[in-house]
Symmetry: C2
Subunit: 326 residues, 2 copies
């Protein structure tokens, strides 16, 4: 039996980069000597927290939408997400004049719902204890002929996310490694694919919450493993298994996945805020925490760190101030 | 009687720019559509909060130190500051291998003292209720032949701060205005001088705390006015009068000073943190608050906003979370 080919190639990422240019921010790569000192390595912070919509997700969503036919664009899109993907699809849709429906759980944080509505999308709520979000979304595909924009398991979405890696590699020569957060695996798959073509010597690591280690377990098992709903502050990394398209790419093209405990995430968020003056959300700080606290190989001296997002409820600032320990 | 010539010219700023290139970060200019919507104008955020040492102050300090003779460098420098200037002089001194003594008040925030010591400077504390900080510093000038690095009232310091304006004007074409915070006036004087040569049509405004309106009062009076110790959260804008070198430049080259109440500062800090993901300290948000909340002329459509610093005690995050209102 021939194995299925991987869902995207380097050329798909390069094509995505051309397609979405001018519609997304080319985010800055920032340095902080103070963080370098903590890490004991040179860190190059790719600031997707400064991206439109506050995360890298707008890259994949924009690439997916631009790949639709005129006819499909007319019929609109549908997505399911309680987080950054919702805002990204809403934002990309508004920019391109496409009608968007986003299925969000009834108990989604008010700030995320508001942001998504603010970008002009219609929200359809569902009860996540009784309804399946994919089914809710698929009803709109079948009834209205809308195109689904999945959060990670789609070639255009993965290729779009990979443009983060292309930009980082173009800007910083001679990196030893790149580290990205891992949720469903779209960002890691995309960036690993970018590196495989643009800089095959650069190892691309994923960083996963220790409590949401589905990708690490899957890599160990050699096949996709499903875990129980994980308890972690990294809300963007809560998928219970890697995607069926992302996993083979992560397995074949990444250098593996390292695990980060939630306490190190909070410390990393506090450090990047106070030292580098950047607000990064828990999921967005996974790669940074891995780089800061010795989770990467010692010989990775020059490390590109994808700060993948910065959308955070204000309440979390109290945690970062350390006041909760008083 | 011929009036005294102004202390710096455009050429001094241009020379500073060449002199300090490579020793400071060329900080990014970032955009945020969400902030643009609040302001009702296009804002171009010059991120000196991402500068080395966390504020623009390292520009002036570095320019001053590089202008010293070899002999002067040997003898070292001395500065007085409880804030960003202390860190900047310490950082610039370490970079250039110059010995630095910083006079800081006994009750300076622990974090500022630690940062200054962390950059390798020696601290000399004084009691700000009983001792004059300039006298404390001048003793080291007389006793050890050290060069004083004043926080603003010095041509090299002002010219160094002006490089912020040069970079902003080089990067963003067709600005209508620039707005900077005003404390002692070094940044405003420098940036106004930069604009006077590089883009004479661009109006440069200062933004001052409503409770620390010494520069606004001085402009009204046509001469330097001294106010009582002001009560404002903008700790970098607490000088009680404009400098004797900065004031004539502010008067002749800036478009004037607007006033910002502390409540608007807090709102601006919260907005730039949650929307643009940038940590900005109270003083650093003065210009932003002015641009966001209607303190600038309506015809200033494209506004360069200098976010001058990001050094903040963690406790302040609680204020930003809004928890203090609960």
């Amino acid at each position: 039996m021939t194995p299925e080919p991987l869902a995207i190639s380097f050329d798909d990422v390069a094509a995505a980069s051309e397609r979405i240019a001018g519609r997304i921010h080319r985010t800055p790569v920032l340095r902080s000597r103070l963080l370098d000192e903590v890490a004991g390595r040179e860190l190059f912070l790719k600031c997707e927290n400064l991206q439109r919509g506050g995360s890298f997700k707008v890259r994949g969503a924009t690439n997916r939408l631009l790949a639709l036919s005129d006819d499909e664009r007319q019929r609109g899109v549908v997505a399911f997400s309680s987080g950054n993907h919702a805002q990204a699809v809403a934002l990309a849709s508004r920019s391109l004049g496409v009608d968007a429906i986003i299925a969000m759980p009834l108990d989604a944080p008010r700030s995320k719902v508001d942001a998504t509505v603010g970008y002009g999308a219609r929200i359809v709520t569902y009860d996540r204890h009784r309804e399946d979000r994919e089914e809710v979304a698929r009803a709109y595909v079948e009834r209205e002929g809308r195109a689904l924009v999945p959060p990670y398991d789609n070639p255009f979405v993965m290729a779009g996310q990979g443009t983060v890696g292309l930009e980082l590699l173009a800007e910083v020569p001679e990196l030893d490694a790149i580290v990205t957060p891992v949720g469903g695996g779209g960002l890691l798959a995309g960036v690993a694919t970018a590196a495989s073509g643009a800089a095959p010597g650069v190892r691309v690591f994923g960083a996963e919450p220790a409590a949401a280690n589905d990708t690490a377990l899957s890599l160990e098992a050699g096949e996709r493993v499903t875990i129980a709903p994980p308890d972690t502050i990294a809300d963007g990394a809560r998928p219970q298994s890697p995607g069926h398209l992302t996993f083979p790419i992560v397995r074949d093209r990444s250098a593996g996945v390292v695990l980060v405990p939630d306490e190190e995430l909070v410390t990393a968020m506090r450090l990047v805020l106070t030292r580098a003056k950047l607000l990064v959300e828990p999921t967005g700080a996974l790669g940074l925490a891995a780089a800061l606290f010795g989770r990467l190989p010692d010989d990775a001296r020059r490390v590109g760190v994808v700060l993948s997002g910065g959308n955070l409820d204000l309440d979390f600032l109290i945690t970062l101030s350390g006041a909760e320990r008083a």
